[in-house]
């Protein structure tokens, strides 16, 4: 059979497939009716048979090239992975996120240790020499502390809570995403982000303590701080996972280790993002609110923190064992 004869006998199938494909590419698979969807699968299988025939009989031909391109365009639509459903998202936060966290809890411990050591170093530095705070904290903020004023009061008197919340959580999610992505610098960038955040907290705490501002500061930060810092540390852990894959790939090649650790790490950092949205709202609406008593804010902070860790350490245990059994 000549190429042209082959084209003539089979072209109707290809044309049909292409028109379905164009429709799909324009408006996703949902645009197809049930029969069209079924037809897409059938036509794709017919095409692969034609492709196999062309590979044997017309190597190096335009015909082969064309069929190959048509098939490779259709392939990703025919073999789709799991689609995104509400139940799937729920399942992710209920089981996947805590399970992934527990499987990689040592990275979280490492991330938290770096943070606490940095905070302690920052506090000690300021304890011995107050000027040291100037290295890491903006001079404006230091001025507020010197005047025994909470800088947050000024900030929230100017910016409405709704706008402030949005700015806070978009900024925090950016930090979390960056801490993860910087893992590709062999973990150095992630280490620096965690360290800077630790140093800042240590310095501010100690500086406030020296100017007897610790009370108002703790009143402001506890409601959101416990969970917020924890989530940044989880994102840091995700970055450290990527960094470790590059530094010490173990039994894998670096390339494989990167893909394996990356798949887990991205779950952690994506799982953390919605929590940061909620914490941004708490920080914008509850933390700076003078009408709410300090005790209540602290209780809320501790409650949210406990909720986070209970969820991360206890949720999805059952389903992980059933998975292993089956």
């Amino acid at each position: 059979m000549t190429p042209t004869q082959f084209i003539h006998t089979h072209k109707e199938h290809w044309q049909q497939l292409e028109s379905l494909l164009v429709k799909t590419e324009r408006c996703r698979l949902r645009a197809l009716t049930r029969t069209e969807l079924k037809r897409l699968g059938q036509l794709y299988r017919i095409l692969t048979t034609d492709l196999a025939y062309a590979q044997t009989n017309f190597p190096h031909s335009d015909l082969l090239l064309t069929l190959n391109q048509l098939a490779s365009r259709t392939h990703p639509y025919v073999y789709r992975g799991q689609s995104f459903t509400f139940a799937g998202v729920l399942q992710f936060f209920r089981n996947d996120l805590p399970q992934t966290f527990r499987a990689n809890v040592h990275y979280f411990v490492l991330s938290a240790t770096i943070f606490l050591v940095a905070a302690a170093l920052g506090a000690i530095a300021v304890l011995f020499n107050e000027e040291a705070a100037g290295i890491i904290i903006s001079p404006k903020l230091i001025d507020y502390i010197h005047r025994h004023e909470m800088w947050t009061e000024h900030f929230f008197s100017v910016i409405p809570s709704s706008v402030a919340s949005t700015r806070i959580f978009t900024n925090n999610i950016s930090v979390a995403f960056s801490a993860f992505a910087l893992g590709l610098t062999f973990g150095v960038g992630t280490f620096i982000i965690i360290t800077i955040n630790g140093l800042m907290l240590g310095c501010i705490l100690m500086l406030c303590a020296r100017y007897s501002m610790l009370g108002p500061l703790l009143e402001f930060i506890t409601a959101h701080g416990v969970v917020e810092i924890s989530t940044i540390l989880i994102a840091g852990a995700a970055g450290l996972m990527v960094g470790t894959a590059l530094l010490n790939p173990g039994n894998h090649t670096r390339r494989d280790a990167l893909a394996v650790h990356g798949a887990d790490a991205v779950k952690l950092v994506l799982g953390v993002a919605p929590i940061l949205v909620v914490m941004g709202l708490v920080e914008g609406f509850i933390s700076p609110q003078p009408a709410i008593p300090a005790e209540l804010k602290m209780a809320l902070g501790l409650f949210l923190g406990a909720l986070l860790y209970l969820h991360l350490f206890l949720s999805g245990r059952k389903s992980s064992t059933t998975n292993r059994v089956s």
Binding site: M1, A52, L65, A71, S72, R73, L184
Partner: protein
């Protein structure tokens, strides 16, 4: 002489489908990917800039200063939307489009490239997020140099994000089927073809077939001298073996003005009923 050889190993990824058929995917190069990225970036910041300028102008006209005017005209809502939009353009744009458009963004669609899993399948939401969250390391601003070096030097044109998510970026050529069919739809002229006896004696190789088809498709874009010269060369190449055959003296060979008609007839006859049914 095919323009692109589908069997060539370089810059290609071979994928075995569940039907046991090998698919050859052409990997997108540095140039195409850069074009797609530049288009996407222009779109992202173009939209942001347009909206930002519009908001500033409207605020100016209505004498709104958001710190003093308070929440008149939904000022706060506008500020919130602007913040979210900026965040989306920075972190969400690529991941969302690649997830919703099965591996494509507006820029990738314009440049005709697509992100696929290593095995040729579609990428999931997590893959899209993974390969795009690390853009601050390998493709935003000056960091793009790192991504470009990776794409240029790595075996399968992968930037770090592709290594993490196990993805490849492939080229697509959506118009070729129409071209192929355009030629096979040439009007058949078998019954009255003056060279029918000659044509029946010729069996074209698949390379010769492609050559004629390409010539017929593009002849209108050639100037008349080149067109005549090319046509003559092709006809000579096909007729030379026939001239050497025994009993070829009494065949009427086509002369200069009939060359194109002869080639058309050749392709049309080849498109006729197949000699034997397909195995």
């Amino acid at each position: 002489m095919p323009l692109t050889n589908p069997e060539a190993p370089a810059f290609h990824e071979t994928v075995e489908t569940p039907e046991q058929v090998r698919l050859h995917l052409e990997l997108a190069g540095l140039g195409t990917r850069s074009i797609a990225y530049i288009l996407d970036t222009l779109l992202r910041y173009g939209v942001l800039l347009a909206i930002f300028v519009a908001v500033v102008l409207v605020f100016d006209v209505f004498q709104i200063h958001w710190e003093t005017t308070g929440d008149r005209f939904g000022t706060h809502l506008i500020l919130i939307i602007l913040t979210l939009l900026y965040f989306f353009m920075e972190w969400g744009y690529f991941a969302m489009f690649e997830w919703l458009w099965t591996g494509q963004t507006p820029g990738k669609r314009a440049a005709r490239i697509r992100v696929l899993k290593d095995g040729g399948g579609p990428i999931s939401f997590l893959d899209a997020a993974l390969r795009n969250l690390v853009r601050i390391i390998d493709s935003s601003g000056p960091m793009a140099a790192i991504g470009m070096m990776f794409i240029f030097f790595s075996k399968k044109n992968k930037r770090p994000g592709d290594l993490l998510a196990r993805t490849i970026v492939v080229r697509e050529h959506p118009r070729t089927l129409m071209q192929l069919l355009a030629v096979s739809d040439l009007p058949p002229r078998i019954p009255d073809d003056p060279f029918i006896d000659l044509i029946r004696r010729i069996s074209l190789t698949s390379d010769q077939h492609d050559l004629i088809v390409r010539y017929l498709l593009r002849r209108d874009q050639l100037d008349s001298t080149t067109r005549a010269r090319l046509c003559g060369q092709i006809v000579d190449a096909i007729l030379n073996p026939v001239r050497l055959q025994p009993n070829s003296e009494h065949l009427s060979l086509p002369q200069e003005p009939d060359y194109e008609r002869f080639l058309q007839g050749l392709i049309a006859v080849q498109a006729g009923p197949p000699p034997a049914s397909r195995p």
